[in-house]
């Protein structure tokens, strides 16, 4: 099977090269036969890579330890659940996973792209094939997943216990899917640049893909946060680790794009900017991969240092320079159709939103690279950590959150004073009201006060938008209000789904702000002894150590501590926290002992307990007890975010032509029938008739 896998990699290499050449040449010379060949090459590439994936999984599931990759990352007693994830748990396999998924996306885009955008497809095929070929090249020449060992070990090394977590099954694939799918908008952007078809058409073709990428990245980041939270030693749900930052960067850029694209659709502005954002998002995704795999920056996530980094560096430079040059030559074709008319307009608020997003991305990038930059320039390595990122990003994040509430309230082009008064009265009052309540309640933390009052403002904005829209439908079509609300959402998925994402951001920000109030204590307890800790919610929590139990499980020896918890004397239940020593099939220890934290999650606080160790092998145990406020809202906010994203993405919907004024709340009255249908998603057409009003 490994021979089959190896051969299919070579096949993929040749087919991918062919697809790239025929795509570019066929596109440039308008040769239908070559274009068709490029299209077919993407299919063949996908088949070849899937065969390779199948071969590797076959080796993993049959415990073929003659394959170095299988021996290095799995063992006979590894739970089946985690065997599948061994595919992407190491360098070589994850490269294969990446290439294979990209080739699947390549096939999807070739088959599902609507007729209107066919002209781009040969170039899209060329770009996806070329990127996939790069990954195949890295595998063939330096990181071959099918590399054999000179001998066959009896058992493999097993998987790092910290990876043996459900997070491992979902987090990397989601993040990879997000990273990989950015290639598709990038391919369309390159195709648009090459074909010089630079009107809004290519944006329409990729809009869904950008939302797909954004959603996968969001889910990947959220699962990663959850995983880091339940795994001790990864520093809570967000630690500003370089690799976390690397995943956040394309997310920030894509989020900026999802906003600025509306300005181009509506007003024909920001064409250069939008193209640059897509090119930048792809470059950042490759940059993130480079950081993870080269070991240039110390991180808990990095793979072992290897030559793979050089390949990625070269690729990164080629992609950056290539797309920058191409972009520069096409700049004259990207002139805006309209000019900014007023500072107080929707487009201006989008511009500021974008500046803030890019500012955020830049500061994160700068902070991540600072050790390297400072060493290169000044000869001393200077690192910045979470304090830097918090200090810079919290103000920027709050400004963005404020814009989340302001933007939807301001009319396109130019807002009138009466429009502003009507729009801002309720939300602004709500924000001030929340601030006063919290001040009276005794909250003094500035960051938290700002977060919660701005959050109240944003929630009021969103509620007002929903209420006005529903009431407008109610009046116009005589729909009962609940039905009007549902129809409002399902007929304008992009807009109202977006608002739901805004709600999610408020929840997330609120949850992040809650972390300012966490409390913590350490205690060494004999069985029967109790430690108490006052929570930020004003309650007193008591933790009683009940005892230690030791037993063997599937591939590990477990030392578990049982703790009884009360709140103000009332029983809450029991929690357990474990030390695990993983063992191989013969019972010999592998890896270092790992810790399983105990978590009791509630709406207000999470109780988070850690067994630090036993004193001299007795039942006297050392614990760390932490009370983390509002963490539940991170996961709930994440759920709402995904929900909003899915609503935006959901196909179909939107019957044509909403009659009459579109929606209360706009300062300008749009002409009727401005709703069209592209690719199953409603959009407001770039409205040039606006001047008639």
């Amino acid at each position: 099977m490994t021979l089959l896998g190896h051969l299919s990699l070579w096949l993929a290499f040749l087919v991918g090269l062919w697809g790239a050449i025929t795509g570019f040449v066929g596109g440039a010379q308008r040769r239908a036969d070559l274009q068709q060949s490029a299209r077919h090459a993407t299919f063949a590439l996908c088949v070849a890579l899937l065969v390779a994936v199948f071969s590797l999984e076959y080796a993993i599931f049959t415990h073929d330890f003659s394959v170095a990759y299988v021996a290095g990352r799995t063992s006979r007693n590894l739970p089946t659940f985690y065997l599948w994830s061994a595919l992407y748990s190491g360098q070589e396999g994850s490269l294969l996973f990446w290439a294979a998924v990209l080739s699947i996306f390549g096939v999807i885009v070739q088959t599902l792209t609507s007729r209107r955008h066919r002209a781009y497809l040969p170039y899209v095929a060329a770009v996806t094939s070329l990127v996939a070929t790069f990954f195949v090249t890295v595998m063939l020449f330096t990181a071959n997943p099918f590399q054999r060992l000179p001998f066959t070990p009896l058992d493999g090394n097993g998987m790092n216990p910290q990876l043996q977590n459900p997070g491992m099954v979902f987090h990397p694939p989601m993040l990879y899917l997000g990273y990989i799918s950015i290639t598709i908008p990038f391919a369309f952007a390159i195709a648009a640049l090459l074909t010089k078809k630079l009107d809004t058409d290519w944006l329409v073709a990729v809009r869904k893909w950008t939302i797909v990428s954004w959603l996968f990245l969001s889910v990947g980041l959220l699962i990663g946060m959850w995983w880091a939270y339940v795994e001790l030693g990864w520093g809570g749900y967000w630690a500003w680790d370089p690799v976390e930052n690397a995943a956040l960067l394309p997310w920030l850029v894509l989020t900026a794009f999802l906003h600025s694209v509306m300005v181009q659709e509506k007003r024909g502005m920001l064409k250069k900017w939008n193209l640059a954002l897509i090119l930048g998002a792809f470059v950042l995704s490759i940059f993130g991969t480079f950081i993870t795999r080269s070991g240039v920056i110390a991180s808990v996530h990095s793979f072992t240092q290897s030559r793979v980094g050089y390949y990625f560096l070269v690729f990164l430079v080629l992609v950056t320079v290539g797309s920058a040059v191409l972009y520069a030559t096409r700049l004259p074709l990207l002139e805006a159709d309209a000019k900014l008319e007023s500072m107080v307009s929707r487009e201006a608020s989008f511009l500021f939103n974008n500046l803030l997003f890019i500012g955020l991305a830049f500061s994160v990038l700068w902070g991540t690279l600072f050790p390297i930059l400072s060493e290169a320039i000044r000869g001393t390595k200077i690192t910045v950590g979470p304090p830097f990122f918090n200090q810079v990003n919290i103000p920027l994040g709050l400004a963005l959150l404020l814009l989340t509430g302001i933007g939807p309230l301001i009319a396109w082009r130019r807002a009138s004073t009466s429009n502003l008064q009507r729009q801002f009265a309720v939300p602004a009052t709500t924000g001030v009201f929340v601030l006063l309540i919290l001040l009276v309640a005794g909250m003094r933390d500035v960051g938290a006060l700002l977060t919660f009052s701005i959050g109240g403002f944003v929630l009021a904005t969103v509620s007002q938008e929903f209420a006005r829209g529903a009431r407008a439908r109610h009046r116009q079509y005589n729909e009962p209000l609940p039905l009007a609300l549902v129809n409002l959402l399902s007929r304008n998925r992009r807009r109202y789904g977006g608002y739901i994402v805004h709600v999610a951001m408020v929840l997330l920000f609120g949850a992040f702000a809650g972390m300012a109030f966490k409390t913590e204590t350490q205690a060494t307890l004999r069985p029967g002894e109790t430690a108490t800790l006052k929570g930020p919610d004003g309650h007193v929590y008591a933790f009683t150590h009940l005892g230690i139990s030791q037993y063997n499980a599937l591939n590990r020896q477990v030392t578990a501590a049982l703790v009884d918890v009360t709140r103000d004397g009332k029983p809450l239940g029991r929690m357990r926290t474990e030390k695990r020593q993983h063992v191989d099939a013969l019972g010999r220890p592998t890896f270092e002992p790992s810790t399983e934290v105990g978590i009791m999650s509630g709406l207000r606080v999470d109780l988070y307990i850690v067994l630090a160790g036993l004193v001299n092998g007795t039942e006297q145990a050392v614990f760390r007890f932490t009370i983390n406020p509002l963490v539940w809202w991170v996961w709930f906010g994440g759920f709402v975010l995904v929900l909003g994203g899915l609503i935006v993405l959901w196909p179909g919907g939107a019957p044509l032509a909403i009659k009459g004024p579109r929606q209360a709340g706009y300062g300008v009255k749009l002409e009727p029938e401005t709703v069209g249908r592209y690719d199953g998603m409603t959009v407001e057409q770039p409205d040039r008739r606006i001047d008639n009003v």
Binding site: E592, A612, V622
Partner: protein, 146 residues
């Protein structure tokens, strides 16, 4: 054309100019936040040899928050579970320093890993660590993320 300009914000200045001012304000704020952030929170990242050199040249490097990247000297790790105190030595092959750390070390910490110690070198010659990060040993790869 649309309605006539009204309100305080539609003064004689062009929207583009005003936007540019706003943009400069944002870019300036980002720049300022970054510069001050680095100034206030940036830490030296040194190897033990570099630290020894700097300390001998400039005593202000004592009691200065920094990060030190080195290897744990095998056999030097002492754990006192009851007080949660961890003592060990780190070295880069030429210079070695004793480290004392109160708290929970990460699961990956052993006596043969590369560590990043965050803390201060005191006059007593001991690095008082506030945090210890362990890089994984060579036996397996660490956590992959895209």
């Amino acid at each position: 054309m649309g309605r006539p300009p009204e309100g305080w914000y539609n003064t004689s200045m062009k929207a583009g100019t005003k936007f540019a001012l706003g943009a400069i304000l944002i870019v300036g704020a980002v720049g300022y936040l970054m510069a001050s952030g680095i100034k206030q929170t940036g830490q030296y990242f040194l190897t033990p040899s570099e630290l020894a050199q700097r300390v001998s040249a400039d005593p202000s490097f004592y009691d200065l928050g920094m990060k030190i990247g080195a290897r744990v000297v095998p056999g030097t790790v002492e754990k006192e579970t009851a007080t949660q105190t961890l003592r060990f030595h780190i070295t880069d092959g030429t210079v070695s320093y004793p480290v004392v750390f109160k708290g929970l070390p990460p699961d990956t910490f052993t006596d043969s890993v590369e560590v990043v110690v965050e803390g201060r070198l005191q006059k007593d010659g001991i690095i008082h660590a506030t945090d210890v990060l362990a890089k994984c040993g060579s036996r397996y790869e660490s956590v992959p993320k895209a």
